[in-house]
């Protein structure tokens, strides 16, 4: 019996050691197989000839076509007169690249080289959760590396539906391929939160771009800003329409029942002030956000949807004192770093409206993007009036959105307000 047990133990040890050797061989094989199809993508300042930003890319669909992230080549896309694109191979060879197409929403870009760049990698479906994945790239400009990690599936709360990759991606690996155990692409490296929490763009979005390119015989996009605007506008309309079609659950804030999370991409947090014993007024504050941004350039992000509810009430403050406090918090601003080169000034309209059987002072503000035609930042704010000891504020802002869709969302949300004592 003892002999038999020892034999089983020895066999299992040998099998485990063999499996480890196989895994190491797999990782090494995968790297060897695809190494010649993976490149560093560099954005070069034409004036200085030095690289301004770096990322990774890989050959896909055709020998001279490479895929990478939009954010890797965004400087070049937004300012082609100042910057140029270049590749660096694992052997140290360099050469120019041209932009062909991009998907700004899913952070993808397709570039073209003048010569064949290697064997195109094949796109495949995402394997089951827990499967091993291999991510390639050139982190921190230190040299080409391969990182092993685990597939943790599509993020359902993320509007982009990115893949959660439990592996260590680092700056410079953006745009590199992530492969399954057979060496097929399942995603494109895009972001990391550190501690082995990384994100990949599902390869199916790249397929959409490549299919579109095949139809146009890989003709490069002519008007990059119009191309971006169209994609951002369509995405904004899709998201807002999805929100409008959702069945919203209600949440009670003070005496109002209001829409809570209008979509699964929205997360709400309580941000109320902790009550104190001698407080003269009470505040209930809920803040909701899609916690998402679409990268346009290093100082421009769009696609955020934020809204907040604030209820204030008092039994001890006089109306004048209470309203001083209420007025002080009646201020709303929009996030982001859009400057005068990006957007117009805000135009606002204010009036008194009937919402949930009560009077509200409501304002709508809009500013448009100068280069991205049709795209606006919208800010909505409404404050209950006519109640001497109660106040209710609702602020909603959307960046880089279709103004009509945003207005429809605002109206729909307000129409759901119900007064409930």
């Amino acid at each position: 019996m003892l002999k038999k047990s020892l034999l089983i133990l020895l066999l299992s040890f040998l099998m485990s050691a063999q499996a480890q050797v196989n895994a190491e061989l797999n990782t090494a094989n995968i790297y060897t197989n695809v190494e010649k199809s993976v490149y560093q993508i560099r954005v070069i300042n034409k004036q200085t000839g030095k690289k301004s930003s770096i990322g990774s890319g890989f050959v896909v669909t055709k020998e001279n076509i490479l895929a990478t992230n939009y954010h890797v080549v965004s400087e070049y896309i937004n300012d082609p007169d100042v910057f140029s694109l270049e590749f660096l191979s694992t052997t140290g060879a360099t050469g120019p690249l041209e932009l062909v197409d991009f998907d700004i929403v899913h952070d993808l870009a397709v570039v073209k080289a003048k010569q064949p760049m290697g064997v195109p990698l094949r796109i495949s479906y995402l394997p089951e959760k827990g499967a091993s994945l291999y991510s390639l790239g050139n982190p921190m400009d230190l040299g080409f590396t391969i990182v092993k990690g685990t597939n943790n599936g599509i993020l359902t709360k993320d509007e982009d539906g990115n893949i959660l990759f439990s592996g260590s991606l680092n700056p410079g690996m953006s745009g590199g391929p992530t492969l399954d155990e057979t060496g097929n692409i399942i995603g494109i490296n895009v972001a990391t939160s550190g501690n082995d929490i990384s994100f990949l763009v599902p390869a199916e979005y790249l397929t959409v771009v490549l299919d579109r390119l095949k139809e146009s015989s890989f003709e490069a996009v002519s008007d990059r800003f119009a191309h971006s605007s169209g994609q951002l506008l369509a995405n904004s309309q899709k998201i807002v329409n999805k929100m409008l079609n959702n069945k919203w659950s209600g949440t009670k804030i003070g005496s109002f029942v209001v829409p809570a999370e209008v979509d699964k991409s929205i997360r709400c947090w309580d941000a109320s002030r902790t009550p104190k014993k001698d407080d003269l007024f009470r505040t209930y504050f809920t803040r909701c956000s899609n916690e998402d941004n679409i990268f346009i350039s290093s100082r421009l992000n769009v696609g955020s949807i934020n809204y907040e509810y604030m209820w204030l009430e008092t039994e001890k403050l006089s109306p004048t004192r209470f309203y001083r406090r209420y007025e002080k918090v009646n201020s709303s601003v929009i996030g982001g770093h859009a400057g005068k080169r990006d957007v117009t000034n805000f135009s606002c309209h204010t009036d008194f409206t009937k919402i949930g059987e009560h009077d509200f002072k409501t304002s709508v503000c809009r500013r448009d993007y100068l280069k991205y035609t049709g795209l606006s930042d919208m800010l909505f704010t409404t404050a209950m009036v006519g109640q001497k000891d109660k106040g209710f504020l609702f602020n909603l802002d959307l960046t880089g959105t279709d103004p009509k869709a945003a207005l429809a969302l605002f109206q729909s949300m307000l129409e759901k307000f119900k007064w409930q004592n």
């Binding site: 007024f281 117009t344 309209h349 009036d351 002072k361 109206q411």
Partner: protein
């Protein structure tokens, strides 16, 4: 020969000497007819004499000399006629006929209860009202329970500033009119704080009434640029009994350092308004009384009106930006 008056002006102070007999000697020495205690005056500086109907002036000073009609005099006698101005070193002088008419009396045109610059009750009332305003402002903007010492602590510096301004205004009155004028000084010091705050209250109320916050802003500017200088001018007219035009000039001069500072702020604010701003500008005022001219409209109507107005506005801004880009 009619009698003459010798007017000397030393450091802004006027002295008048009756000239009954000739010759008249002027200087720092005690044996002169007119003694001037000024270090720039010689012991025997000038002599004025009369021969028949003719008047003569002679410079005796070899140190700092005398100027007649802005020209330095030698040691010769010069024939003059009253009125006549001359300058003995740092002391100005005029020889005036005794029957020369003087300026008409400035009549004090305000007396009684409604004269805020002369009635002590007003001064005390305005001071108390200002202190009460400070307390009220601090109280309404503090929505948490606080002890009376908290309010005292924050209000006392403002009270010291009022008293400081009172002392400065009184000091200026003392120098210019030889009167302290404490009561008017208290009134104006209190009003300098009270009136802008009053304008702010009116502006706030008007902003909500009209659903237009810029009304409040313009009233704030009006208080800073018109009301305070006007107040100073009224103070000068009523207290020092000056005429309106010089009073307005003095008020502008006195207020000019503050005015320059306020202009700087205004220019900053206007350039921010005319330039790019990341912050949306919309009517944020809220009033517990809910007094307003705009009636409540339906949400649907509001959305339609807002969409129409802001779309037009933004399109104008976009086309202006495009035009600017083409020009550059």
């Amino acid at each position: 020969m009619a009698k003459l008056i010798l007017e000397t002006i030393q450091r802004g102070v006027h002295h008048y000497h009756k000239v009954d007999s000739f010759p008249v000697t002027i200087g720092r020495a005690f044996d002169n007819d007119v003694i001037l205690q000024d270090v720039t005056i010689s012991p025997h500086h000038v002599v004025i004499d009369q021969e028949g109907d003719d008047l003569y002036i002679q410079n005796l000073s070899t140190e700092n000399g005398t100027k007649l009609r802005k020209k330095p005099m030698g040691d010769e006698r010069v024939n003059i006629e009253a009125p006549c101005s001359f300058q003995m070193s740092g002391v100005k002088a005029r020889l005036l006929p005794i029957d020369m008419p003087v300026e008409s009396t400035h009549v004090k045109d305000c007396s009684g209860f409604f004269c805020i610059f002369s009635n002590p009750l007003w001064a005390i009332g305005l001071l108390l009202a200002t202190i009460a305003m400070f307390f009220y402002e601090r109280y309404v903007t503090t929505p948490v329970p606080k002890e009376i010492f908290f309010y005292l602590n924050t209000v006392l510096p403002s009270i010291w500033i009022i008293l400081g301004i009172t002392v400065v205004i009184s000091g200026i009155s003392r120098i210019s009119t030889h009167r302290w004028e404490i009561i008017p000084a208290i009134s104006i010091a209190a009003l300098i704080f009270l009136l802008p705050q009053l304008f702010e209250y009116i502006g706030h109320y008007a902003a909500y009434l009209l659903t237009e916050d810029s009304v409040g802003l313009w009233l704030k500017y009006a208080a800073k640029f018109i009301v305070i200088p006007a107040l100073i001018a009224v103070f000068i007219v009523k207290t020092i009994h000056a005429k309106w035009l010089p009073a307005a000039g003095i008020a502008a001069l006195v207020y000019s350092p503050f005015l320059a500072y306020q202009v700087l702020i205004l220019v900053d604010e206007l350039s921010l308004k005319s330039g790019f701003s990341e912050v949306p500008s919309y009517s944020q005022t809220l009033l517990p009384s809910d007094t307003r001219l705009n009636a409540t409209i339906s949400l649907d109507q509001f959305i339609k009106e807002a969409d129409k107005e802001i779309t037009k506005d933004v399109e104008q801004m976009l086309s202006a930006a495009k035009k600017k880009e083409q020009e550059s």
